[in-house]
Amino acid sequence: MATVTFDHATRVYPGTERPAVDQLNLEIEDGEFLVLVGPSGCGKSTSLRMLAGLEDVNGGHIFIGDRDVTDVQPKDRDIAMVFQNYALYPHMSVADNMGFALKIAGTPKAEIRQRVEEAAKILDLVEYLDRKPKALSGGQRQRVAMGRAIVRQPQVFLMDEPLSNLDAKLRVQTRTQIASLQRRLGVTTVYVTHDQTEALTMGDRIAVLNHGVLQQVGTPREMYDRPNNVFVAGFIGSPAMNIGTFDVKDGKVQVGSAEVPLERSIASEISDADGGKVTLGFRPEALDPVAVGTAGSFDVEVNLVEELGSDAFVYGTLKGDTDVNLTAGETNQLIVRIDPRNVPDKGDVIAVAIQAGHSHVFSATTGERLG
């Protein structure tokens, strides 16, 4: 088991100007489950493949433990790419399916059996060891594939979108299994996904990348509660955070008819370049419905209500502020979480107020968090 360190690690593809991964600095603790997440092309898979030895490192270094592996061949790095190969061999027993790589490496039979049995215990596969894969369910087959990686006892597990080719049901099931299994094994794991929900539910910490640059790294709670910049704010959370750029007058942000007071320390960070504006973010669940006309509230015209049983969301338009560019993830509507037992109709106007202390303020020019 080991730590993993990216030290100014950079990957530039031949013939391109912008690095695919730009000066990545990241320290992953021994036994930690770290998720690399970001939109397509952000550099997350490239970072993982640099660690795996599949991409050249054009600048900086990568360490596994104290060992500089920057120029070490993939098979000599003591890592395992989990789920790379999970086709099971029909004529071999489950035990042989798990242990065949050790057999190839010349590991003594007794030791193979011991390691396979240990892995099977953790994976709840003990009673199946001498059966053929045919007898297994889809989920159990997934676990055999994990078993293949576990018996090799690598220092680090690498997983690159391992759930992308599973159907939706198996995906959720396997997600939970991987996370709990990783905790039981305590093997340092780096996991790549484009899905922020997957990242939030699985990782000890999450590293968000965009355009090859690390935006922020932290626990799911930190990423959710205190995003460092507009990108992270918009990327983490589902439905996405409402984000818009508004005028500031007398230390108050003008959101429709509402005036949202800024803390003095935040207001003092607004620069001349910001031109008297800030970018304000507030999550759909940070909005409280109030009576129309309540001080500090703004009006939203309802375009659509999405009912999800336990939750309901209003997709609407901010009234009285026509030139503001407001988005929530992919949509340019404002999203409000409301009581699913009391939903408005399309075309209604509702008033909402941002809960105190639940707004996020960013520089209108740099997008960095203020305060």
């Binding site: 593809y13 031949p14 013939g15 795996a52 030895g53 599949l54 991409e55 050249d56 061949q73 993939p74 098979k75 790379q84 190969n85 999970y86 086709a87 099971l88 061999y89 029909p90 004529h91 071999m92 027993s93 042989d96 065949f100 790589a101 057999k103 190839i104 053929k132 045919k134 992308s164 080719n165 599973l166 159907d167 939706a168």
Partner: protein, 419 residues
């Protein structure tokens, strides 16, 4: 009453065939009725795969996540465009729903490669002791070709490959590109990882055959896996390595090109550098294209065949040229005469109903082999028509059809189930 959700099928294909809509897309692939299926695959796959006969061809259908399906479809199209041996993608179908409204997985359709053989069929058929070695050689060539064009496979295995007979050897085709990636050039790390994974997978697959008692006990699985690594390295070095020599030895440039031609590759671009005083020359092939012999035969005759079949046919063309004393005639004209007087009549001598057994070029190769064999026995030169007749009666009639070797017939029990 809530209306039953309808299927809203979307077909993405180069030439969408409306008749495809008649297949039972509202049923999970694993439950398709036998009467729709051509066969059940016997290979190892992590997804549900089925074969159907459709419009005169056999299609392989794989159930797979939507994004992965589109991705693999694009990759296969790309590989096909740059003429890397791979299965031909037909299309992607999404928007499937069962009658109860449940969403069904997207499917990727590929055309089944005619006259191709899965490795399992080769091992359970006429197992010659060197079959495994010849398969490994073919896979090494395919892997080198993929790496030359910048394709990282990510899951090289015998199961993800199909084989076609190519004279006395095999030609390998990529079947599954799900884990693949196209790059401008590959790093050594990517190549080595692919090769290492290939070794592990091949050994695993052979161990599986051995566990199913489908493999001769004398076969050393690990040695075969190691052979792939060795063959790959040899070929990669021969194709891409640089060599240096005295400037007086300039014949070595031509010798290198000839050596690559012998390996079946053309040199598209060769970098030649000299040192400052001009005494040393260094050469390194920069662009090499596989298919030296098959391209030459295609140019001369219009026949599109495998590399080693082409080599064999070109040799026969050379002997024809010598025998008919036409060395000074234009090569193309002689080649056309050869097709008319030698190749076609030989193939036509095979009764129509037996032609499904092998591809024409492979038939021709085997007839040439057979002629050599019976000529030896008879201690005289047997003419080709006589050899063809003898081949049909003594060999071909007793061989299985190889037009579409797929797996188990629908309804047939998998022998593995009987254990």
């Amino acid at each position: 009453m809530v209306p039953m959700p309808q299927q809203n099928l979307q077909i993405t294909a180069v030439a969408p065939d409306p008749a495809l809509l008649d297949l039972p897309w509202d049923v999970p692939l694993a439950e398709w009725p036998d009467d729709v299926l051509a066969a059940l695959p016997q290979g190892i796959s992590r997804h549900v795969v089925r074969f159907v006969s459709h419009g005169g061809r056999v299609l392989a259908i794989k159930e797979i996540g939507e994004t992965v399906a589109y991705r693999e479809y694009e990759l296969l199209r790309q590989l096909h465009r740059i003429e890397v041996p791979s299965v031909v993608p037909v299309g992607v179908i999404t928007g499937r729903r069962a009658p109860d409204g449940e969403r069904l997985e997207a499917v990727l359709l590929t055309e089944h490669l005619q006259f191709s053989l899965p490795y399992r069929a080769l091992f359970s058929q006429d197992l010659r002791p060197d079959t495994a070695t010849r398969l490994i050689d073919a896979l090494a060539v395919l892997l080198v070709r993929l790496h030359l064009v910048g394709f990282y496979w990510g899951d090289v295995s015998l199961s993800n490959t199909l084989f076609r007979r190519d004279a006395e050897t095999f030609a390998a085709y990529l079947v599954d590109a799900e884990t693949g990636d196209m790059h401008r050039t590959l790093t050594n790390g990517q190549r080595n990882y692919d090769v290492d994974l290939a070794r592990t997978n091949i050994i695993g697959e052979l161990m599986d055959l051995s566990a199913g008692e489908l493999l001769d006990e004398a076969v050393d699985e690990v040695a075969i896996g190691d052979a792939l690594v060795e063959r790959y390295q040899e070929l990669w070095n021969a194709l891409t390595g640089s060599e240096a020599f005295d400037s007086d030895d300039r014949w070595r440039v031509a010798a290198r090109i000839e050596r690559l031609n012998d390996l079946g590759f053309d040199v598209g671009e060769l970098e030649i550098t000299t040192d400052i005083d001009g005494t040393k020359v260094r050469i390194q092939p920069k662009v090499v294209d596989a298919g030296h012999h098959s391209r030459r035969l295609l140019r001369l005759t219009g026949l599109d065949v495998q590399e080693n079949q082409a080599r064999r046919m070109l040799n026969d063309l050379d002997s024809y040229r010598a025998a008919t004393d036409r060395q000074n005639d234009q090569e193309q004209i002689v080649a056309h005469a050869w097709v008319r007087q030698v190749f076609r009549p030989t193939i036509d001598a095979v009764p129509r109903e037996l032609r499904r057994k092998l591809e024409p070029a492979q038939l021709f190769h085997e007839i040439l082999d057979h002629r050599w064999y019976i000529s030896q026995q008879a201690q005289r030169d047997i003419p080709l028509p006589e050899a063809a007749e003898s081949y049909v009666e003594r060999v071909l009639r007793h061989r299985p059809d190889e037009d579409a070797v797929l797996g188990l017939a629908p309804g047939e029990a998998d022998p593995a189930d009987l254990e």
